[in-house]
């Protein structure tokens, strides 16, 4: 969704009563718009009585916050040790080759963004992935491709 200052103001208003509202506000904005554009920094700073530097600092600190739009489906592949022990590195290479992109990249057709994740808590059914909202355990490329297919529908 394109940035909409009025809608953003409503979202901010719905969360500003919280103690330490910055993270919930930014998360809600990103959930609504898909990313946090430059306008978000200024508007959140103004609304929460913070400096733009402080808000920029928060956005840039956390891996979840994006400053550019992502592809329609996110493919998060776990890169942590338990998944490494079950071939996560090879799976990541395979996924990169099939998608024609690399970490943090989006496929040319704008369909999939490939993100690393450090642990989904599926370390006993590794390697693990999160495709859109769908968890995939004992992942291999055919199972990931099938999950991506389901998300694309």
């Amino acid at each position: 969704m394109a940035w909409d200052a009025r809608k953003a103001a409503e979202i901010i208003e719905a969360h500003r009563h919280l103690d330490g509202p910055a993270l919930p506000v930014l998360r809600a904005l990103q959930d609504a718009f898909g990313y946090l554009p430059e306008e978000a920094t200024a508007q959140v700073a103004e609304a929460l009585n913070l400096s733009r530097a402080e808000v920029h600092g928060v956005i840039s600190f956390y891996h979840d916050f994006r400053r550019t739009p992502a592809g329609r489906t996110s493919l998060k592949l776990c890169r942590a040790e338990a998944c490494q022990a079950m071939g996560a590195d090879a799976l990541a290479n395979e996924a990169c080759a099939h998608l024609g992109t690399s970490w943090h990249g989006t496929t040319a057709d704008g369909r999939v963004t490939l993100e690393p994740v450090f642990c989904l808590g599926l370390c006993s059914v590794a390697p693990a992935a999160l495709v859109g909202d769908e968890l995939v355990g004992r992942a291999d490329w055919p199972r990931l491709a099938a999950a991506l297919e389901r998300c694309g529908r």
Partner: protein
């Protein structure tokens, strides 16, 4: 008309990742086709993850398990009469009679996998709510004494006595105090917090409520990582349920979601994050127990610490303290992960050895190749070779061998692992997740990566190894928190126990 047969299908993330949702639908469809009356109950996981999805049927002879079940097996299961416990290749019998379950001593995970996590009736039928009632009846002082006497130590990794922390906060003069649950379970190889929150969230909520009651906090926060979407959904509903049923009368609890930062599992970084700031660690002192969230005295405890409190009060502090090894009292929910045949959750008294856990209970590697190394305690834990598998699970015993119990995760690697690569990854992870506040961690981790790269490339290996050791020394002594302070554990243990991997031609 007989009452519907209850079929338990886990909705734990590990089961979901192996198709449990589609399976539940397939079971309901097949039952309808056969005009069999069934009620599908979604539970947490028992913790036998190699059997997931593990479906249980509530037969006249008790619950009978079938696993691992895929949607393709459903028709044949009905055909075999599984609603009456019929024979089938996937039938495992009573789940609690499985050796993996029978060998456990469950306190924290007593209800997990058994109950519907969002059923108040199940919660009450399995003793839920009694501990809070007992705390209210006997008062804060007596409840605090029980927690101190139980010897319960923080399960997040540091192992600090929980009761002492509670007492510190209770004895402050502040008008406002907080309870914060650290549910930012970021260590690879650990998933006990996730399983508990998905399978028995009310245990955590009751434990937090008791903590709030004891220390005089009227507000609590659960800080959960965003990588746990299922646990977030379950907790949201469980909190609503707890609120309407009076569990949060003294201390209300709010759920907060992290934003993908490993260092926010460090308690002071977590507090900064809760306050809406960058998750940078604070220098200690002051301790959070004196000046924590918004500068107020705050108990910060891990999920497992808080969730164990109710069973300690009900079953007795002395009974809990009677279990364990050395100064590590009670039970530890151990997580068997990585390249392991029987992965999952195994709760046992402290003192159990790595050999028992990896070989006997875990059944060796999933790949069938020899076990070469295990990493215990997450990305900052040491790599242990087979020669150290006699180490008992005990905070002090692990520390004596330059290792960590941490949050109790054990990641198994087979003989294809390249330990110099694992050392490099530890530095890379530290560099990616460093909060940037202190120089040893921020700069040292990047330098560490570069030095290991040179070693891998065979450049001046001897002098670069000396530099790596020196750098680790600086990180260990000079970092503000455990991220930079502990990253030498995996790096130096890899070097010490697997030197051949660092000296390749």
């Amino acid at each position: 008309m007989s009452s519907p047969r209850r079929i338990f299908v886990p909705a734990d993330s590990a089961a979901l990742a192996l198709g449990a949702d589609a399976l539940a639908t397939a079971i309901a469809d097949e039952a309808a086709r056969r005009k069999r009356s069934v009620q599908i109950v979604r539970t947490g996981s028992r913790g036998m993850h190699w059997l997931e999805p593990l479906v249980e049927v509530d037969t006249d002879a008790g619950r009978i398990g079938y696993g691992p079940v895929s949607s393709a097996d459903v028709a044949s299961l009905f055909e075999s009469g599984w609603l009456e416990g019929g024979a089938h290749a996937l039938r495992i019998g009573a789940p609690e009679a499985q050796p993996f379950m029978a060998r456990q001593t469950r306190w924290t995970f007593e209800r997990c996998g058994v109950v519907d996590p969002l059923s108040w009736e199940d919660f009450v039928a399995h003793g839920g709510g009694q501990a809070l009632a007992q705390a209210r009846a006997q008062g804060a002082e007596a409840t605090l004494s029980a927690i101190i006497d139980s010897g319960l130590r923080g399960r997040g990794g540091a192992g600090f006595p929980a009761g002492i922390k509670w007492r510190t906060v209770r004895e402050t003069q502040a008008a406002i105090r907080y309870v914060v649950c650290n549910a930012d379970e970021g260590d690879s190889g650990t998933f006990a917090d996730r399983m508990l929150m998905e399978g028995d969230p009310l245990a955590l909520i009751e434990g937090m409520a008791i903590c709030g009651f004891v220390v005089g906090a009227r507000k609590g926060f659960i800080y959960i990582r965003s990588e746990y979407p299922r646990a977030i959904r379950v907790l949201e509903q469980a909190l609503e349920l707890a609120r309407t049923r009076g569990l949060l009368a003294e201390c209300d609890i709010e759920l907060r979601i992290g934003a993908g930062s490993y260092v926010c599992g460090e308690e002071t970084a977590l507090l900064e994050s809760l306050e809406g700031k960058r998750g940078q660690v604070r220098a200690k002192p002051p301790l959070p127990a004196h000046a924590g969230l918004f500068g107020k005295p705050t108990v910060v405890n891990n999920v497992l610490t808080l969730a164990t409190v109710p069973s300690i009060l009900i079953r007795g502090a002395a009974a809990y303290a009677a279990l364990g090894h050395g100064r590590s009292r009670g039970t530890m929910p151990i997580q068997l992960a990585g390249n392991i045949r029987h992965g999952g959750l195994f709760e046992a008294p402290f003192g159990i050895s790595l050999t028992e856990l990896v070989d006997d209970i875990g059944g060796g590697t999933a790949s069938g190749r020899p076990v070469r190394a295990v990493q215990v305690g997450g990305p900052l834990g040491a790599y242990f070779p087979r020669e150290l598998f006699d180490t008992p699970l005990d905070y002090e015993a692990f520390a004596a061998r330059d290792g960590l119990v941490g949050h109790g995760g054990i990641v198994v690697f087979d003989d294809t692992v390249d330990m110099v690569r694992q050392a490099r990854f530890a530095m890379e992870f530290c560099a990616a997740e460093s909060c940037g506040k202190c120089t040893p961690c921020r700069v040292g981790s990047v330098r560490g990566m570069e030095v290991v790269d040179k070693i891998i490339a065979g450049q001046n290996v001897a002098s670069n190894l000396a530099l790596l050791e020196d750098l680790c020394h600086t990180l260990r002594l000079g970092s503000l928190c455990a991220l930079g302070g502990f990253v030498p554990f995996p790096v130096l243990s890899a070097l010490r126990h697997f030197p051949q991997d660092f000296h390749r031609p």
